[in-house]
């Protein structure tokens, strides 16, 4: 050990001279910015962004695109919540309501949650691995534009028909679009085509991105960066990317079958001609369940970066974390029919999927315990990224436990398609995934922009969002238990769901205010934020050795690493990992 320490000391010395730049020894962000003036006119800048193949710029494009979509999906949900604030309200007509929830679900899953992590990963994976760019930069640009055009096509559907009421406008079949409701007999006009084509397009984008991350991580690591020295975020992006390839393909196949049914006289799902409605369900959920893990893996990755840094300890059980993630992904491929406990499968079938679903809980539990053990004995700093991560731990715990309830097939016969399920998966997607997205923003914004996000606005955003989240989604479980199905535009007065739904609506608006504050913070801090320097959080992974923002091709020379925490080794030459 001592010998290795000496070697690193020596290496560290030579690195500071030639290869890896040390924190604090770089031209600072202000200097970089003054160079921006020489860039020329706006057209040139735009041209640069549209044609870029630089992983950092593409990452930023993904993130900005997802944020714009988040606003669109958010406006949709606020309209939905207004209509549901009381029984038998007439604010939004039924047809429009159905379009809104279809668009909300499709937008948030495919055009917010997926691309925002692809954006984070685009920016961070090459930096974390100490390389110049991602494996296939042109494929990377292609993937982004496919994803972006998919979303634009989806939203064009609002204009593509004759207004909100018309037959040819936004899709109205729900985000899982059960056949045969999507067949031409029941879905006239082109709304369903917009939906299917948009998802096929963005699916190609997702698969391209996935191929890129897998290749980058396996083939392009800097010297000394073995697989088990990669930051966990990179590991989790690999797992997520493998799942994208395995899960998005069946979805694309199903969309192709649907379009064949609709325009080429196929009968895959056309029950009136002997097709099968359940085949669609299988195809959709073979995609749909792994999709949840596609989204949660990068969130786990961010948690595994943020929690160690802000508790000042190495991640507990690195190999166990990798193993748990891989096994979650593996098991998640065999659980899809837990979305289908009510379709009349045999008792043995139901028992199998109940068991496989519960088994996911084991590696998931291991992950939570490892994060807990990382906190244990640390010195926890309550900076904004850490606040979001700690809230994530609580909320993910609850989401996991309601997941166990839903895995109990008989309990699921009652809860399926009720607001309990809606509350459960929003606990996952908002309470866990979106919280970690916010943590990621506060953690890496200084790296991307060179400036810190405002701390006071950040804390205000956090507390408002936590309050809004819990007012909304804690309460939302109860109408489900009281028998309220999802995707209904109105409900009866005597059911006793009115007050609860009013509270849920209030919570949704509190969350909206918090997000406005967040967006304000992003904009204001870009101009007025504190200068960050290369390593504002005293962190340990390679991205913090570069300037903030990193200049073209990231590193002046290829870095050399000796452990999973290269910066720890540099900062503690007497006690390297």
């Amino acid at each position: 050990m001592a010998q290795r320490g000496a070697a690193i000391r020596q290496e560290g010395k030579s690195m500071s001279e030639s290869s890896m730049p040390l924190p604090g020894r770089l031209p600072d962000a202000a200097e970089q910015e003054s160079r921006a003036d020489t860039f020329g006119n706006i057209v040139e800048i735009l041209h640069d962004w549209v044609t870029t193949v630089d992983h950092k710029k593409i990452g930023i494009l993904y993130i900005l695109y997802s944020l714009a979509m988040l606003v669109a999906g958010g406006i949709e949900i606020l309209l939905i919540r207004l209509q549901l604030a009381g029984p038998r309200l007439n604010i939004i007509p039924a047809e429009v309501f159905n379009r809104l929830f279809t668009m909300h679900g499709t937008t948030m899953i495919f055009f917010v949650a997926m691309p925002i992590f692809v954006g984070f990963a685009n920016y961070l994976v090459p930096l974390m691995l100490g390389v110049r760019d991602i494996a296939f930069p042109r494929l990377n640009a292609f993937s982004f534009w496919m994803t972006a055009f998919g979303g634009l096509l989806l939203y064009y559907s609002f204009l593509g028909g004759d207004g909100l009421q018309g037959a040819g406008t936004a899709p109205d079949v729900g985000w899982f679009a059960y056949a045969p409701l999507t067949e031409r007999a029941f879905s006239r006009g082109h709304s369903t085509d917009f939906w299917a084509l948009a998802l096929i397009l963005s699916g190609f984008g997702s698969i391209g991105g996935a191929i890129n991350f897998i290749t980058t991580a396996f083939c392009l690591r800097c010297k000394g960066m073995t697989l088990f020295r990669m930051p966990l975020f990179v590991w989790l992006m690999i797992v997520s990317s493998v799942l994208v390839i395995l899960a998005v393909s069946p979805l694309t196949a199903a969309q192709a079958m649907l379009l064949i049914d609709r325009y080429l006289g196929g009968h895959f799902f056309d029950t009136q001609a002997g097709g099968s409605a359940t085949i669609w369900m299988h195809f959709f959920w073979i995609f749909g369940h792994p999709e949840v893990y596609v989204l949660i893996m990068p969130a786990f990755g961010i948690a595994s970066e943020v929690i160690p840094v802000f508790s000042r300890k190495a991640i507990f059980g690195y190999p166990a974390m990798v193993a748990a993630s891989v096994s979650i992904a593996f098991v998640s491929l065999s659980v899809w029919a837990h979305h289908m406990f009510t379709i009349g499968m045999s008792a043995a079938g139901n028992a199998f999927f109940a068991l496989s679903t519960m088994i996911v809980g084991i590696p998931t539990g291991i992950k939570i315990f490892n994060w807990l053990a990382t906190l244990w004995g640390g010195k926890i700093r309550f900076e904004v990224p850490m606040l979001f991560s700690l809230a994530f731990l609580f909320q993910f715990l609850i989401a996991g436990l309601t997941g166990i309830m839903l895995a109990v097939a008989p309990f699921n016969w009652q809860l399926h398609n009720s607001y309990f399920v809606v509350a459960h998966f929003h606990y996952v997607i908002v309470g866990a995934i979106l919280f970690m997205v916010f943590a990621g923003f506060y953690y890496w914004y200084p790296k991307v922009t060179g400036r810190m996000l405002d701390d006071r606005l950040g804390k205000l955003h956090f507390w408002l969002f936590v309050i809004g989240f819990h007012v909304t989604f804690d309460v939302m479980h109860i109408p489900g238990i009281l028998g309220m199905p999802r995707q209904i535009y109105t409900y009866e007065i005597d059911r006793g769901w009115g007050t609860l739904n009013l509270i849920v609506t209030i919570g949704a608006f509190i969350q909206a205010i918090a997000i406005i504050i967040f967006v304000l913070n992003l904009i204001v801090s870009l101009f007025k934020g504190k200068i960050a320097g290369p390593d504002p959080w005293d962190a340990w992974t390679l991205e913090w050795t570069t300037a903030s923002p990193p200049h073209d091709y990231n590193f002046d020379a290829e870095p050399v690493v000796y452990s999973a925490r290269p910066l720890w080794d540099l900062k503690h030459p007497d006690d390297p990992d």
């Binding site: 047809e95 045969p180 029941f186 409605a277 008792a347 926890i380 715990l397 436990l401 238990i481």
Partner: protein, 336 residues
Amino acid sequence: MLANLVAMLLCGLPLFAGQSQTNIFSPQSAPARSIVAVSYFTLAITGLIFAVVGGLLVYVIIRFRRRDNDDTTEPPQIFGSTQIELSWTIIPVLIVTVIFLTTARVIFDVQDAPKPKSALDVTVVGHQFWWEVRYPGSQVTTANEVHVPVSTPSAPTPTFIKLTSADVVHSFWVPELAGKTDVIPNRINELWIAPEKAGLFEGQCAQFCGAEHALMLLRVYADTPENFATWIRQQQLPAAAPQSDAAAQGRKQFEAQACINCHAVNGTVANGRFGPDLTHLMSRDTLASGAMPNTAENLAKWIDDPDTFKHGSLMPSMHLTKTQIDQITAYLVTLK
């Protein structure tokens, strides 16, 4: 109201039992009862896990926060421990085993329950946006309101419902009686209920099925065996012949307009099957799958323009004159 609200939030579910007709935790029938038992069991275990892990989390966050007088040194770095990893793998394995075995028992108990000879057969066909209800043993067809006998331990008469759909996927859900079962075209699913007491049990379609999914409500009436027998006998009768002049005129209108293409009235030329059977329309409490109470006024408004109550209903407005509507209404209200 605010006090009520706070109480509701603080004390949780038991308080709701009396208020809601659709609470999954107030079972009134055998399958729903087994589900509640396994649900409480699951809630207890998950509640315990939450208390332990959540408690640990709170403890860790408070105990290991950075103090104001911190000396800025790094805490000891610990990279993991195989023994600890193993122990917190084994405990969840044991918990999962217990929950799974309990779950499997209830799945098989409910799904593979033997069907007694005394069981009643009912067929329910889902339509956009209403329920067709058939009693194959007694040649009765009705809509939206399912009548079944109460089932007692001494004289068990459970109802076995065969479910299928005429168009898209629906889901049959009456929370107090049983879990939901999907109603899928080209497929027959089965569900059984055994209501323990007489009364009305409400529910609704639980799978999004199009524009008026929200108003595809469902009512199950559990009757005493005598009342159920009376109800069946009454439903078996052909439609009453119109007694008054207006009603006779109405019947003419009804049979001359497009009404009979979709609706059936047993004993007349009307034999359409696209819409609900109207033979004993006035024996039902609600119209349009529970969208509104079944009164003469509502009926007239419904015939005039179904959109007023149920915008996406597939029944078109026939653009009838006020006189025609009044006559048809006068006829329909005789269909008791």
